[in-house]
């Protein structure tokens, strides 16, 4: 039996989660210190992938990164063939899950903002040090929850992945794609098998989230008690 859809899905989801955790958290950390109408617009842009149908996201990415676009052409010249390759599955999953991580990280970081950050400032800490030593550790439970959600959502992407990365078995065919094409070709047993695998991975992710939530509650209580 070819296990490549499961392997690809896990690789893609972990890679996308890693990328989105870093970019989403940094974007949120940058954003919470700033106010302005232009930034509200930027927020809309950041959150767009959440409200657009994944097929539209995939298609827009294809337009942006395809060989005929300026960016895609440049990347092609440099030897990076993103479209219809494994990196495309990661890009598709990362873009569709970015809003989820961005929103969760923003909420988690904003909760820590206030006197603790101000105290650190009066003690001479740079903004970078405040981010690393105050915001990140105290927002960590919320960030971890965001990571789990991101992972689960990345695992399930179908539309954007199909359009940007195509359905190439062993290279871009992730679990949702494998299930769709198994059903289409009438191979119900295969579809059931992959579905069960997906359920298993999703349950594991949820279990991890649950553990985090419990841990977080404990931590939150300790912080509240101190106030």
């Amino acid at each position: 039996m070819d296990l490549s859809p499961m392997r690809l899905s896990l690789e893609t989801s972990f890679a996308a989660t890693a990328v989105v955790t870093v970019t989403g958290t940094l974007a949120a950390g940058w954003r919470i210190r700033r106010r302005g109408a232009a930034l509200e617009l930027l927020d809309g842009f950041f959150l767009l992938p959440l409200v657009l149908p994944p097929t539209v996201v995939g298609f827009l990415l294809l337009l942006l990164l395809g060989r005929t676009s300026p960016l895609g052409g440049l990347l092609y010249e440099l030897g990076a063939r993103l479209v219809f390759s494994w990196p495309a599955t990661v890009i598709a999953a990362a873009v569709t899950t970015f809003p989820l991580m961005y929103m969760t990280a923003r909420a988690a970081l904003e909760q820590v903002e206030g006197p603790l950050v101000e105290a650190a400032r009066t003690l001479g800490a740079s903004e970078g040090r405040i981010f690393r030593e105050i915001l990140l550790p105290l927002a960590w439970p919320g960030l971890a929850a965001g990571m789990v959600l991101t992972f689960a959502r990345a695992l399930g992407d179908f539309g954007a992945t199909l359009i940007l990365a195509g359905d190439i078995p062993g290279r871009t065919q992730t679990l949702p794609l494998a299930i769709f094409f198994a059903v289409e070709s009438g191979d119900t047993a295969e579809a059931v098998r992959w579905s069960l695998v997906t359920v298993g991975i999703s349950l594991a992710a949820l279990g991890a989230l649950n553990l985090w939530t419990r841990h977080r509650k404990g931590l939150a209580m300790r912080v509240v008690q101190q106030d």
């Binding site: 101000e118 400032r121 001479g124 105050i134 550790p137 101190q226």
Partner: protein, 352 residues
């Protein structure tokens, strides 16, 4: 250490105008909620940006709108003790105290943290987390953390208000000892006039974003410059007044003529503090008038008497007097009317 600040801050509809100068005396900033006390501290610390003005320590500017200077909070070397202490919950006592010392050599950091732990009686608590400390201990950690970087100015925002009432007296005593050893400028914010009086040398009275009075505490309490300042420093008895010549004023609401030690041709109000209202055994004498008791309330050690002057206007009481419990026990059996005496040295007149 010389500290000078004069600035205007705007937060929505609220405007704050502060002018303040000190040569190292401890300054108490007194006012009700929303008077602008905390905003004043935050502006000095660099956590809020004023519209204009200048803030300087020993001649070097922290903020100057004319020269475009605005040092960020991290470069001001201002130690800030927040109302709820804002200790880092994921750091131990030792790490909290040493947080601002990252740039110093390790040995120097350890020496400073060690000395502060000793001084603040935090020796056995080094490895504890803030949540494992009592309110008083948290307050000492917050103060030690603020002092660790040897700040040029120490800003305390109601540092006792988060404590249980029974703890305050004790912690206040410790705080006074620590502040006495500190050689920089101290600004102490509180809404408790007694606390400010005990801990500070100079008082700044704020109301609605304006400075109502500032000066040595004895001065402010003995002769508040305005009605509002008198009220905020705890004075309870006021009467409209007009000058009557020869060191006398006519107290219009009380319907009596009073000799005052410091008369003023501009007298508009006359006032006396409740604990300065005295009682005479004999009728006659200067500033002695008969009165009746309208009502009285009890606190654990004192009795507050609400007195009516027959000559006064209106239906309510005219004077509020505070007497110790034992004095009250002597007085209560005596027949009314009593004789109230308003000491000319204790009365003060205000030109508004």
């Amino acid at each position: 250490m010389e500290f000078r600040a004069e600035f205007a801050v705007r937060r929505g509809a609220f405007r704050l105008n502060v002018a303040l100068e000190t040569k190292g005396e401890r300054v108490g900033i007194l006012g009700e909620s929303g008077a602008g006390k905390t905003l004043t501290l935050r502006t000095v610390a660099g956590l809020e940006r004023p519209e204009r003005g200048r803030i300087e320590i020993d001649g070097s500017a922290l903020y100057d709108s004319v020269h475009g200077i605005n040092l960020p909070a991290r470069e001001r070397r201002a130690g800030f003790v927040f109302q709820n202490y804002a200790l880092f919950p994921h750091r131990t006592v030792e790490e909290n105290i040493g947080f601002g010392l990252g740039d110093l050599p390790r040995a120097e950091q350890d020496a400073r943290v060690g000395a502060l732990k000793e001084r603040m009686h935090l020796g056995g608590l080094s490895g504890r987390y803030p949540r494992e400390l009592s309110g008083g201990q948290q307050q000492r950690v917050a103060l030690a953390r603020a002092l660790a970087g040897e700040p040029r100015i120490l800003l305390l925002d109601e540092p006792l208000s988060a404590l249980d009432f029974h703890l305050r007296g004790l912690v206040e005593k410790e705080l006074l000892d620590s502040l006495a050893e500190y050689r920089g400028v101290t600004l102490y914010v509180s809404h408790s006039l007694e606390e400010v009086y005990r801990l500070c040398d100079v008082i700044l009275v704020l109301a609605g974003g304006r400075v109502l009075a500032s000066g040595p505490k004895e001065e402010i309490f003995r002769r508040p410059p305005s009605l509002e300042a008198a009220r905020l420093t705890g004075c309870k008895n006021f009467s409209r007044a007009r000058p009557a010549g020869n060191g006398m004023v006519e107290a219009l609401d009380w319907g009596v003529m009073l000799r005052v030690a410091q008369p003023s041709a501009q007298a508009k109000h006359v006032a006396i503090r409740a604990n300065h209202v005295a009682f005479a055994d004999e009728p006659g004498g200067e500033n002695v008038y008969s009165c009746t008791l309208a009502e009285s309330t009890e606190t654990p050690f004192r009795r507050t008497l609400y007195l009516r002057l027959p000559s006064g206007n209106g239906d309510g009481f005219h004077l509020q007097a505070e007497v110790p419990k034992d004095r009250w026990e002597q007085m209560r059996s005596r027949p009314e009317p009593w004789k109230v005496r308003l000491d000319p040295e204790r009365l003060f007149v205000m030109a508004e």
